[in-house]
Each structure stands twice: as C-alpha cells, then as structure tokens.
C-alpha cells in the first residue's frame, strides 16, 4: 500500500518537474513547481517525518512559491514566452544529467542511500518534532548557526541592493514612512 502511494507521488513529482522546464509560460512553470513540491511533502510523510512535510508545504509551497509568482508577474515574464526551446546549453546539460544518474544509480545499488524506515505509529510520530528540534540544537548546532548567519547576510544584502539614494524625494507620501 505504502509503495503504491510512493509510486503515485514519485510519478506525479517527476512528471510535474519535467513540465516545469518544458512548458513555455513562466506562470505555468511556477504552477507545476508547486505541484512538484507538494509531492515532495507527501513523500516526507511516507518517510515518517510529518514535521518536515508540514514545513515543506509552509515554507516552499506557501511562501517561496508565492514570491516566485510575484516576481514572475511583476517582471511580466509570463507573457513573453521563451522562444528558444532548445538552446546552446543542451549538450552540457545532458552530460550533467547522465553523470548525476550514474552517481545516484551507483549509490542506490551499493545501498549507500537507504536506511531502515522504522515503524509507522502515533507514538513514534508524536516525538518527531522533538527529535528534530533536539538534533538541530545539539548535534547540528554549528551548521544551524552557519545557515542562520548566511540567511542574515542575504537579508542585509537584499536591503542594501534595493536601498535608494536618500537625497532623492520619495515617491510615496505614505504615513509612518
């Protein structure tokens, strides 16, 4: 039963992922990417990680993709359909895909990418959030801090990039700005 669901999710994820790069309209691409990310969330549930699944939907589907759509719509890429369907990058791209598949295939065949799934009951799942929280703040505290620092740098960088010259008069005469 579980395997059946896995194959359904995996199939939809792959088909939508292919559609993301093959449709010509940027808004449609974003739509298929949403579907793809939702399937990944479903696979997280099959991997006994409801917390990661919820966070995946919350962050990626709920927030990141909204920003993607916002950017696509503001820049109006949606109307301007990509003309070159296959352009000069196709050769390196195919090479990289084949190399990736070879490496993945080797790892899967050697059993390096698999682990026991464990039991699927409420008592185990209930502790899921706690386990992740503890692991993040003890065992993985260093990577965790590095990532938060990186995000902070990105935030400050984004603000610096969009900061305008203070001397110019502002366009909006908004309250409290």
């Amino acid at each position: 039963m579980e395997q059946l669901f896995f194959y359904i999710f995996a199939l939809v994820a792959i088909v939508s992922a292919v559609l993301v790069v093959s449709v010509r309209n940027a808004v449609h691409s974003a739509f298929y990417l949403i579907i793809c990310l939702l399937q990944v969330a479903a696979i997280f549930i099959l991997l006994r990680s409801p917390f990661l699944a919820a966070v995946q939907v919350f962050i990626y589907v709920g927030a990141v993709m909204v920003l993607f759509l916002f950017a696509v719509m503001v820049l109006d890429i949606g109307r301007e359909k990509t003309k070159d369907y296959i352009h000069s990058q196709w050769l390196p791209a195919v090479g990289v895909i084949i190399a990736l598949l070879l490496v993945l295939g080797y790892l899967v065949k050697g059993g390096k990418l698999s682990a026991e799934l464990g039991i699927y009951n409420e008592a185990v799942l209930a502790k899921n959030t706690e386990v992740i929280g503890k692991a993040l703040f003890t065992q993985y505290i260093f990577p965790f801090e590095v990532v938060s620092l990186l995000l902070l740098v990105a935030l400050v960088g984004a603000i610096v990039l969009v900061m305008k010259d203070k001397t110019r008069p502002r366009k909006n005469n908004g309250v409290g700005s």
Binding site: H28, V61, E122
Partner: protein, 344 residues
C-alpha cells in the same frame, strides 16, 4: 492483499463519515452567513438589510444561489483557460482542507452502539503547522485567478494579495509560536486541554502577552482572508472588483465560498488558540455540553469579524505594508522574547 479486519473497516468508514459531515456543514454554512452578514451590515448602517424574500429576508441566500447557478459562466477571450478554470478550486480546496486538523471537542461515546468517537478528523501532532501551511495555499487561487483573467485589475489584485499574504503570514506564525510556547504543544487538542479549568487559564488571559498575541493573530488573519479593513485585493474603489473582476456565476461563488469558510476557520482557530476551545469559562454546577461553548464562542467571533467589516474603513496599500512590517513584526519579536522569559 491482506483482508483488513472488521475494526479497521469500521475505523475507515467512521473517518469517511466524519469527512462527509464536516464538508456538508461547511458547504451549508455560507447560506446563513451571507444572510447574517447582510443583516449585520444593514443594522450597523441603520437600515433593514434583506427583507423581501421570505420573512426577514431569510430566503435571500437561496435566491442568490439560484441567481449564481443560472448566470452565464463567462471565460474572457484571451484568458488562460486552464488556470482560469482551476483557480476557484485552488482557492476553495485549502479552505476546506484546513478543517481536517481542527478538533471540535473531546471524545464522546455514542449511546446505542457504545463506541467512542473523536470529534476531529485527525489529531495530528503537527496540527497547527498543518493548518498554517494549508491555509496559506488558498492564496494561489487568488494569484493565479488574477493572472489568468488577462485583465489589469485582476492582475493587480492578485499581486497585492501575494505581497499581503507574505507580509502578514510572518506575524501570524509568530503569534502561533507564542501560543505553542504557552501550551507546550503543536497539537490543537493539547492546546485546548492546556486551557482547561476556568477563564483565567485561557491563553488570552496569560498577562501581559496573551492579549498581544491574540491581537496580532486577529489582525494578521483579517489580512490573510482579505476582509475589510485589509481587502486590498478586491478594492472596488480602485480595482473594479479586484482579482475576481472577470469571474461570474459559479466560479465567482466558489471564491466567495472559500472566503466564508476561511472566515469560519479563522474564528475557530481564534477560539481554540486563545479562548479555551470547548472549555467552559467558569465551573458550572449544571453540565453544559462542551460543544455548546465551542459553537457559542465561534459564533461570537464570526459576528465580531462582520462587525469589524462594517465599522472600519479600508487601509491604503502603503498603510497595510507599514502595519505588517513596521508594527506587527517588531511587536511580535519583542513579545516572543517576553514570552520566552515568562516561560523559563
């Protein structure tokens, strides 16, 4: 294939029945709610509201329903047909899916067959995260619907909606984290249990941070479900009808259905997170069924949201952004620090 035993089958049937019952209730709710909203609007503005169709205009929602069903379903000529058709569903499905994780009471025992039944479809241990995640998906209906209409008003409505959602979701999440810190659980059933006893145990009365979290949650939620004073995506003064300018008939009705169901879910969440869920406010000598308290509190908040809608004017777009980024988020950050110190 293994043949499941009788109790498993019964369990599956029970879940299916619960899903159907909840869905039917949610489909039915907008009928009385539209009537109530117009009546509340009427009386706040010193007029009668619906009056002609049936006594006190009670049959008005049915008249509206017939009108919406009979209306021509227009798809604009240059619209993106696929996304235009699917957008109302994208708005509606998440609004309903939220109710999978919402509990309506403790377990009850059905008298005749003597079976214990839980008053929720699923008590997830990440329930509140699930609700935040799923309710955030409703915005895609608005964004994609606005884009697919191929109309500038719709497009701007969709854009506004996405920016507004991103801005206010942060402070809502902070408010929910605050509640999780007060109740020590992500499961909604446990959050309600932690508020048992009396009025003073409710998260709202956890002074001084409780009322602040509640205010942040309600303001943020008003913005998320696009109701006045934050209904910029459908600002009729400047945008025609906003994201649903091009929608008519049943597709328009689905958007409205989603909006009403979202309002109910926000009322339910406010009650569960801050006002003790189905717990009674004071210990009473006579047993009153918990579901009564739950429905009464939810009804009050539904009325409250209507009251707000017809009392406050709409904010300007820059005011909306100022409130979100420059007031709610700093206040949330400070409050989370205070809550943390209080919970040590």
């Amino acid at each position: 294939m293994m043949i499941p035993d009788i109790s498993t089958i019964l369990e599956v049937v029970l879940i299916a029945v619960k899903v159907v019952v909840v869905t039917m209730i949610l489909f039915g709710l907008p009928l009385p709610l539209t009537w109530l909203e117009r009546k509340v609007a009427g009386h706040i503005q010193v007029r009668l509201g619906p009056w002609r169709v049936g006594p006190h205009g009670l049959l008005q929602p049915f008249a509206d329903m017939i009108k919406l069903l009979m209306k021509e379903d227009i798809v604009p000529d240059r619209a993106d047909k696929f996304l235009f058709t699917i957008a109302p569903l994208l708005a509606m499905v998440p609004a309903f899916a939220v109710f999978v994780a919402i509990p309506f009471g403790e377990n009850i025992v059905i008298p005749v067959i003597n079976k214990e039944v839980s008053l929720y479809i699923s008590d997830m241990n990440v329930g509140i995260l699930y609700i935040l995640a799923i309710s955030g998906l409703g915005v895609y209906g608005i964004i994609l619907g606005g884009w697919a209409s191929n109309s500038k008003y719709s497009l701007i409505g969709g854009l506004r909606s996405s920016a507004q959602m991103i801005s206010y979701e942060i402070s809502i999440s902070f408010a929910v984290i605050g509640v999780v810190m007060l109740s020590n659980s992500l499961s909604l059933v446990d959050i309600v249990r932690s508020q048992g006893g009396s009025l003073l145990q409710w998260n709202f009365f956890y002074l001084p941070v409780g009322p602040v979290w509640c205010a942040i949650f309600i303001i943020g939620s008003l913005a998320e479900i696009n109701r006045i004073p934050f209904d910029l995506p459908e600002d009729e003064g400047t945008l025609g009808a906003g994201f649903h300018t091009e929608y008519s008939g049943m597709k328009f009705a689905l958007f409205m259905l989603a909006e009403y169901v979202a309002m109910v879910s926000v009322s339910v969440l406010t009650v569960i997170l801050f006002f003790g869920g189905w717990n009674s406010p004071v210990p009473l000598p006579i047993p009153i069924p918990p579901i009564f308290w739950f429905v009464a509190k939810v009804a009050f908040f539904i009325y409250f949201f209507m009251w707000v809608r017809f009392t406050l004017p709409r904010y300007r777009y820059d005011q909306l952004m100022t409130i979100g980024w420059k007031i709610l988020i700093p206040v949330s950050l400070v409050t989370i620090l205070i809550t943390g110190f209080m919970r040590i």
